[in-house]
């Protein structure tokens, strides 16, 4: 299922671009994050608590930043595993300046496997949207409070 959406952040594309690749920022803003460390340049190792409907699980895995275009776009490759299944995705983020703010377009197609797919597949769209909202709201808070 293709998921997409956008969020507006009151910060410049430059700020957002940096923030999206900052381990500190991500650790603060990604909902349910338990652990986040840099494995290598552009590769984060992370553990997240996620719940999709009745399925809850601690997902661990990697997020890699692929072909980043300075202040414009990023592609993220996510590969996570949990006792309740597997989740992987290629996500695309495009930053578009909009007045003083940035419109962040995000899209991707998650691949789910195992119990999370059988129990939660239909809920994943809503969950992704909610998680994105939380993430970008926090990101904006972080960026604007610093400013």
């Amino acid at each position: 299922m293709q998921l997409e959406g956008f969020n507006i952040i009151h910060a410049t594309p430059e700020q957002v671009f940096v923030a999206l690749q900052s381990p500190d920022m991500l650790a603060k803003c990604v909902p349910g994050v338990k652990k986040l460390e840099v494995e290598s340049e552009g590769v984060f190792k992370t553990t997240l608590e996620v719940s999709v409907g009745p399925v809850k699980g601690s997902f661990s895995g990697k997020v890699s930043v692929l072909d980043a275009v300075l202040n414009t776009s990023l592609t993220l490759k996510v590969e996570m595993r949990a006792p309740v299944g597997i989740a992987s995705a290629i996500g695309k983020i495009i930053l578009e300046p909009q007045d003083a703010a940035t419109k962040v377009h995000w899209s991707g197609e998650p691949q789910l496997g195992g119990m999370i797919a059988s129990v939660g597949a239909r809920l994943i769209g809503g969950v992704a949207k909610a998680q994105a909202d939380i993430f970008f709201t926090k990101l904006e808070q972080e960026l604007t409070s610093k400013a």
Partner: protein
Amino acid sequence: MAEKMFGKALKRVEDPRFITGTGNYTDDIAVHGMVHAAMVRSPYPHAKIKSIDSSAALALPGVIAILTGKDLVGAGINPIPTGWLLPDLKISAHHAIQPEEVNHVGDIVAAIIAETRAIAEDAVALVDVDYDVLESVSLGSTALAAGAVQVHPEAPGNLAFDWTIGDAAATDAEFAKADKIVKLELRNHRLVPNAIEPRASLAEYKRAGDEYTLHTTSQNPHIHRVMIGAFVMGIPEHKLRIVSPDVGGGFGSKIFQYPEEVIVLFAAKKVNRPVKWTARRSESFVSDAHGRDHETVAEAAVMNDGTLLALRVNTIANLGAYLTTFAPAVPTYLYGTLLNGTYKWKAIHAHVRGVYTNTVGVDAYRGAGRPEATYVVERIVSTVARELGMDPVDIRRKNFIQPSEFPYQTPVALQYDSGNYEPAMDMALEKLGYKALRAKQAEMRKQGKYIGIGVCTYLEACGLAPSALVGSLGAQAGQWESALVRVAATGVVEVLTGSHSHGQGHETAFAQVVADELQVPVEHVVLVHGDTARLPHGWGSYGSRSAPVGLSAITMACRKITDKAKKIAAHLLEASVEDMEHVDGKYQVKGVPERSKSFFEVALMAHLAHNYPADLEPGLEATHFYDPKNFVYPFGTHLAVVEVDADTGRTKLIRYVCVDDCGPIVNPLIVEGQVHGGVAQGMGQALLENTVYDASGQLVSGSYLEYTMPRADDMVQLEIGHTVTPSPHNPLGLKGIGEAGTIASTAAVANAVIDALEPFGVRHMDMPFTSEKVWQVIHASQLAQAADD
């Protein structure tokens, strides 16, 4: 004279324990020292297992052992066999824990044994399995297509078997003569049986004696013993006891021998503690055998006057990743042989290809092959009627096999021994008020209201038999049943049966028959089932066989008891056996009630043997192994009425009339209960339930959030009737009723929905008729109409 129990609507004797919460289901049992198992299951539909790192899981406090496929194979545990072999069947090994490759989501790759269930489940998360993910396939026709992903190397092109029945040339000849050929493409979608009690198993091992006991949710503990003991684990029969206590519904899904049973038995010995496993519902969805999943092209050759000539059927049966216990039989001998229905087809030819896919195994689910066959026949007959402008009732009446024509040899092997289809249909039509409802339907259509009436005049064949025939068709099991009737010195009658009740009320119905046969109070009859240590032989309950086969065995054993009791009484009365009669619960000299002995007196003397015939063994018990001569052939007419809301597509069952002929009825309460439940399941398939694998092979309908089970307000009160045509070949004339409701109702409801949608030009659409799908076709038709205007 004791009141006759046969035919009485006796309240069930098993109910007091269930209504007070004191039933004894497998998961209710806790034994000293018990530990728990949890399974590590594949999240991928198809993958090679590269490595398994269980060190983190093993380090978790409370984890006792972790088992992998290699451990089991190394210990000499064999794969789980299938119980039905077809010629040239391609079999791929199904290991309790797959050592190298997983073939469906839910396939087991490791098992954790831990002090508590919670710890075991925590540890599952810590097992690190490295997979090499492979391409997968989940739809039967896709798996058969050229260049499809190969599921097992043993089955090139994913073809497990290629099977035909009937005379192809004769069928072609009839098609050549036909006025008209009517073709339908039908998808009989996949279902999950969903007994409300999840499967569970508890294994105990005794080092003294090297003996195993397995409590498990089984419809047929003796089949489990044969499969596990003789084939999988190599445990001698007398050292493996299988107990199937109260079982919370089966519907076929608890016939099969499952991996978890082997795992807990193996683990119990290895860790020397009792080991229990209980499925979470989300595990049930990916590990209980599924049902149906056919893609069929059917063609009927007919004359313009409505005469049915011939039927040609081509079916792709999706078998899933492994052949489970009866998987090969279901889409072949339980399907192809039923395609004749209740009609006089001159020729039939069916071609079935069984196909491997990366999905859960598909096996018998209530009806097993017969609902699929009935769906094909009844849908096509109704379609023929519509295309010829006939009433669906008239075409059936015209083509029914007549009572004088039995025994009737069908073109697809079965020989029907009895039947009388019209009276059942007429009774149903009468109950429904068919003519008036048709008029009302026409009236309502004018007002933009759409109801549909679906007709299904089914026939089924159950109580598979005889063993020799079924064996020649590939069954690896006998199809007889055994019974042991044992009379205690007090006159209490203990009846041990190889049949198994998981809701069918055997404790009551069987006792009623025994009470009549032995002329004893029904309260004195106690039924024992579900324990291989109590009754050594049996084959269990599936395929509606308990009444025609199991109860026949009991009846015959009772008759042996009566014969012996007469000899004992004759001796006590100094009369000759020929002069004895069995009346009013007494054994008396014919016509001389004063010279009699009671059942109790005879039973006591059989035990004391003080004053006893010299040539007679003491004791009053008898065993009978009953192997029927033929199947039994229940039939009937089901009429469904649905209402479709044209604005929303919402399709609702509003009336349901059924008249079934299952022969003489032992207990009407129980028989009607079987019909109610069966109809709900068949209606569930037609309107609600669906099992969906997405393009990547993931099961996306794996919970009750997605898999729509019928709820109380989806059903209506049923209007039920019966006709009685006894089976000519078993002692009580009994036929089965456990599956009839499911066999008939899917087609009845489907025909009703298509009938309702006739004004929208709908000739056929596939189940389930969800609001969304129905709305789509209505909407499309309205758009087309608007474009025309």
